[in-house]
């Protein structure tokens, strides 16, 4: 028996829509302009959205249930929810669908955005949609191979986005790539960070920084640590790691000869934890050497010159539990080329 739903008073419509899932409200919104304008009454603006370019848009409701909208070119599957209840297949392109869902539901937060696949060009439409609507993006992951040229076009767009929690970039840019961030999320991880200069590091406001394939050297790290020791600098920093072939034993860091590690027993393990939406990054640095900031804050640094040349620095949170353990014998396998300044 049909029921003239839109004749309900507004508060009642809201009560009914709160009991509907994103698929039902999406279908309803497709019925008419008036129906579309009503669906926000269901509290949809509190939902969060995720987008995996170029295949899926996901909506996470307040009860943490996730509903996936998958793009399909097979008309027989359009709007088919019978198969499983947590996804439907829709004919629209992902960019078009994302814009429609954002506008229809009034969603303000993108929980995660990632490109899955090789084509960063088609990904480019998504940040533009989000920038136009001044959306907050909690997490952005850029993946893909063969995108050396595309990343040059994408980074300026990404710089305009409001990324608040995490930016992880696994794309390898061209060797002449340059970029300068104007604002930072809480965590960054760049798998190819040779373009990330010491000036950018000194201005970085992140809590958690991981730089792989970096071009930073001992002097840069020394400069960073000298600045960190001054009171009031890097107030958010909890963890920094730099993987660079330019870290060598030809010069010291804070007057310490490399490699730098604590050989006293018992040694301590200091842990930095960053809780993302999908993953928790928990990094423990053992055998670190203590560095004290002017305000008394403790940092623990460690530099390894094994096949893995890495600088790690953890700022100790006073609430963390320290782990003490006995040092064990280990092999310091130093590569033959230590001391050279190879390009990354």
């Amino acid at each position: 028996m049909p029921i003239a739903l839109l004749n309900f008073p507004t508060d009642l419509l809201g009560e009914v829509f709160k009991l509907c899932n994103p698929f039902e409200l999406y279908f309803l919104s497709k019925c008419s302009k008036r129906a579309r304008s009503c669906v926000k009454l269901g509290g949809t603006k509190h939902w969060k959205i995720g987008c995996c370019c170029c295949s899926t848009v996901s909506i996470e409701c307040e009860d943490n249930m996730i509903y996936d909208f998958l793009q399909t070119k097979e008309p027989n599957y359009y709007y088919d929810t019978a198969f499983l209840n947590n996804y439907i297949e829709i004919p629209e392109g992902i960019g078009e669908l994302l814009a429609y869902l954002l506008d229809t539901f009034g969603i303000r937060t993108v929980k995660w955005l990632k490109n899955k696949g090789r084509d960063l060009h088609s990904f480019l439409q998504i940040p533009k949609i989000l920038i136009d609507r001044n959306m907050e993006v909690e997490e952005l992951w850029l993946d893909g191979f063969g995108n050396e040229d595309s990343i040059v076009n994408i980074m300026p767009v990404i710089n305009q986005m409001n990324i608040t929690r995490e930016f992880e970039c696994l794309v390898r840019p061209r060797s002449d790539f340059q970029n300068h961030f104007t604002r930072y999320p809480k965590r960054i991880e760049f798998r190819y960070s040779f373009w990330f200069t010491i000036d950018q590091l000194l201005d970085c406001t992140c809590a958690h920084i991981e730089l792989f394939k970096s071009n930073l050297n001992n002097q840069d790290i020394n400069m960073f640590l000298e600045k960190w020791k001054r009171a009031g600098t890097f107030p958010n920093l909890q963890y920094l790691s730099i993987d660079s072939k330019r870290i060598d034993k030809n010069s010291s860091i804070l007057d310490m000869v490399l490699p730098i590690k604590n050989t006293e027993n018992p040694s301590k393990a200091v842990t930095a934890i960053f809780r993302g939406n999908h993953r928790t990054h928990c990094i423990s640095v053992d055998n670190g050497v203590k560095v004290v900031k002017e305000d008394g804050t403790e940092g623990w640094l460690k530099v390894e010159l094994n096949s893995w040349r890495q600088f790690q620095f953890v700022v100790r949170n006073p609430d963390d539990v320290e782990q003490e353990f006995e040092n064990e014998e280990w092999d310091d396998e130093e590569p033959d080329d230590i001391g050279s300044d190879d390009e990354n």
Binding site: P2, I3, L5, L6, L12, K18, F27, S32, R34, A35
Partner: protein
Amino acid sequence: MSSTEQGTSSAAPAEPTTAPESAAAPEVPESFYYVHGKDKVVHKVSAGALQHSALIHGMISNLGYTEEQAKANPFPFENIDGDILQMVVDWCNQHKGKPTPPEDTNLPKQKEKLFDLVLAVNYLEIKELLTYCCKQVAMMVKGKSPEEIREIWMIPTDAEDEAAEKEAKKRAGKEAAGETAAAAGDAK
């Protein structure tokens, strides 16, 4: 269940039916109130049953009626059809003094009355019944396609909405013109 009487609000209500009580329990006289809908049929309902309705409960608390006063002054709900009010009263009686289970089997089954029932329950502020009714309305479209949803929830198309809007404007214009003419006539 409630007692119902045909006639006007001034008709004498039937004697209250009392539930059997254990010998040990002290006798507490239950107070009753009277309501009627559009059809003027008076329903006698206990105060305990009426507690489900925040609206009526608030009225009772503020009025402090005696039994005689309650009989003489049934609450009129002219905007609610008699059969709908009967359903609501039945539900309130069945759930007197006990919480509604998540899946309530004693709920009104008449789907064709659902729209009016929701409006009545919303007006009377019966939260638990309203939640159930809204759930019923929402359940109507589970697993349905956009076209099926349009039919079930009677969603007009954009063209129909536009036509209705035009018609409403036209009617409003005519009414305004009529009022102006009437005012002019009065002035003469």
